[in-house]
Symmetry: C2
Subunit: 187 residues, 2 copies
DNA sequence: CGCTAAGCGGCACTCGGTGCCACCACCAGA
DNA sequence: TCTGGTGGTGGCACCGAGTGCCGCTTAGCG
């Protein structure tokens, strides 16, 4: 098992049992069998042990979005999110642990939203392309940010339902995009 | 001038000239004429010097929202945001400085979004009340988060237009809420 | 076998943030 | 006037995250 992977495992384990703030980088390094200095070579900050995978998701999203046809950004974004968030059952427990940490540790939630900025801009640019408008236009920006915010709501809701499976996640994504498509003034 | 106010002033000044990360708390304390320890009595973190006022805004929002009649949450939220974000011309330069910092210092952007969580829940609860549904329902949660995300887009857009005044801010708020009300699938 | 290059990790340092405690001013009451 | 709180202050020591530097080991290669 590669060093980074092992560090990630022991870190999530320690965070789950002791808490994030109560676990020092020294402990993580010792538990992972490396020096403290080496830990920081694999992860720029302690936060990144938890958030590491988000960037891969962005790359995947951008790729799917690029190949998605049609001129309705909502349809395209929905398809992209359904494709990207297709988890195998075996991955769900780890996903739950990560989401739990991101929910309860404010510092992690904060850092996560910084990562989401790129998602927002990717979505805004895609929408602008389909609408034939400027990516910097307010409508495109509102779209990008609202979509990401909705996905946060989806993950939060999914995490709040302990028995929800991968299919339930998809259903929530559908529901969220329906709301975005129809707007909030219609009943 | 009270100590907190003075610290805030010199801090924003130093941040603007030297940069946020390049300014240490020691410098802020010296510039404000207090000890480092005293600085932390007025502001729990360095970030809070910039973000301090957000909490007042939340209280104001909640108050306006509570008194707002009608059963359309979009209408109520729009009215509330227009009321809360009514700035005098003299306040605009300070607002711009703050927004600029929040925009380009990732750590500040991150911390700001944590504050926004309360706004999101306030809006979700209000919407659920008007709809007669559960505040934890996905639709209410998506609404609350989408609204806050849209307001971030509004402030970002306003900050990006150097000549925009207070009226322009109101117009952007209107435009963003129109998008949310009508949804993103309609042209 | 010797050389080099890359990963590793110890060490010392900076900075944000906290707990503790001494100091000072101000104000009460005797 | 003296005395005894009391709240604001800030020095001091400490912790943990993160960084630069540098010496060490080890693997690969001529």
């Amino acid at each position: 098992m590669p060093v980074a992977r092992r560090l990630e495992d022991v870190a999530l384990e320690l965070f789950a049992t002791q808490g994030f703030d109560e676990t020092t980088v020294d402990e993580l390094a010792v538990a992972g069998g490396v020096g403290r200095r080496t830990f920081f070579r694999y992860f720029p900050t302690k936060l990144d042990v938890v958030l590491g995978e988000l960037d891969d998701g962005l790359a995947a999203l951008a790729a799917v979005l690029r190949d998605e046809p049609g001129d309705d950004p909502v349809v395209a974004a929905r398809a992209a999110f359904l494709a990207v968030n297709h988890y195998a059952d075996a991955e769900l427990p780890a996903l739950r642990r990560r989401l739990g940490l991101i929910e309860d540790v404010p510092e992690l939630a904060a850092r996560a939203t910084v990562r989401y900025r790129d998602w927002e801009q990717t979505l805004a640019t895609d929408a602008a392309g389909r609408w034939g408008t400027d990516p910097a236009s307010l409508r495109a920006q509102v779209f990008g940010r609202a979509v990401v915010a909705s996905m946060r709501a989806v993950f939060s809701a999914w995490h709040g339902r302990p028995e929800a499976d991968a299919a339930a996640l998809g259903a929530l994504v559908e529901e969220a995009f329906d709301a975005l498509a129809r707007g909030f003034s219609s009943p």
